[in-house]
Symmetry: C2
Subunit: 127 residues, 2 copies
């Protein structure tokens, strides 16, 4: 039995939490299918499954903002993965921010409290 | 418009990552519906939606291992919540471990590397 069979896939996917090794910051949340997880382990760089585009998403392929995988963990129900990564370029979010969780609930409203570090147009100018 | 409307609910649910305030450890992953999120904010203690039991799950109600909510964040796509919490009793996982991510991928196998701190039977003896 492969270690991939231990994962409880839902519709062929597993949710993945990416956490930054150096800071502990939760950077983003995405999904992997079996092939993406296998490729992630094989290459040492995070490969996700894009549900909107319905294809493999080699994180940072165009921007250079790849995620070097340090550790891969599975939860008690074996249906969620936690991955510790080094975020190249320091930008995980497509908005040009360090991480995706830049909206904070405060007094009944969502406030943006993290800066855009790089113009998204510059990040993806090669696309 | 309520702040609850900003969340992109999928089948009435949103995935929630709970991270420990003091250590940065990702403790667990679960879901909330609208009522659970509203109650979480109202009470200051994490309330989830149990998909298996199809009912509100007031985390720690029986065990005393409640999660005091410090901060609630929403991601760029507004479909994932990150919550920083204080984990009362130091045990977030139903297996009696500190957190749910106790299986680590190593040399093609999942190895358990976090100890059981409390017997689950003792945690839920009042049920």
């Amino acid at each position: 039995m492969s270690w991939l069979d231990k994962v409880n896939w839902t519709d062929g996917l597993v949710p993945v939490i990416a956490q930054e090794l150096s800071t502990g910051t939760v950077l983003m949340f995405a999904f992997m299918n079996r092939e993406a997880l296998a490729l992630t382990v094989e290459t040492g760089h995070a490969v996700y499954w894009s549900r909107s585009r319905q294809k493999l998403w080699r994180k940072g392929e165009e921007s250079g903002h790849v995620q070097k995988v340090h550790e891969i963990r599975l939860d008690c129900d074996e249906d969620v993965i936690l991955m510790t990564v080094e975020q190249m370029g320091g930008i995980a979010c497509h908005t040009g921010r360090h991480d995706c969780f830049f909206q904070k609930l405060e007094n009944g409203d969502w406030l943006i409290d993290k800066p855009v570090l790089k113009n998204p147009e510059d990040i993806y100018k090669h696309e």
